[in-house]
Subunit: 91 residues, 2 copies
């Protein structure tokens, strides 16, 4: 069961990595919503507490890492939020 | 404990709503990463299975709703992925 949780956590957690890399590469975060970033960070913090209290390793580990990545996205949004990548970047 | 899980799930799940609304309003999804959307959807599907097998209501409910919202984002990205909102929208 923990393997499934670690697999699910790895996917949802690591999914933020390509988003962070894209935002760094394009220096464009205009389309990212502040409210999404803030609510997601708060929710992940709550999931960390939930995972701790239930000694649920996958939930805890996934959310600590994801929180770091979402925090990075928020930093990038603060820095590049106004700029828009005029020339579309192939994905 | 379940209350904390439902709260955490509500936040991370509902966090996608402002991102969906922003993307609908700006018709601009250029900055969203396809890889993020695909990996997130796969991970959420795995979390649904995890929540089912562990009869973990918060994990299951949160991820079914979030999967719907991320699926909507993927649809919007497919439709608006090429366009960029030229005039920055205040957020």
């Amino acid at each position: 069961m923990t393997v499934l949780g670690l697999f699910a956590g790895a996917l949802t957690t690591l999914s933020f990595l390509p988003q962070v890399l894209r935002t760094i590469r394009t220096r464009s975060a205009h389309d990212l919503s502040w409210m999404w970033l803030l609510m997601m960070s708060a929710g992940m913090t709550a999931w960390c507490v939930y995972g701790l209290l239930r000694t649920d390793v996958p939930v805890f580990v996934a959310n600590v890492i994801a929180l770091t990545l979402v925090g990075t996205l928020a930093g990038l949004k603060a820095r590049h939020g106004r700029t828009t990548a005029i020339q579309p970047v192939s994905q």
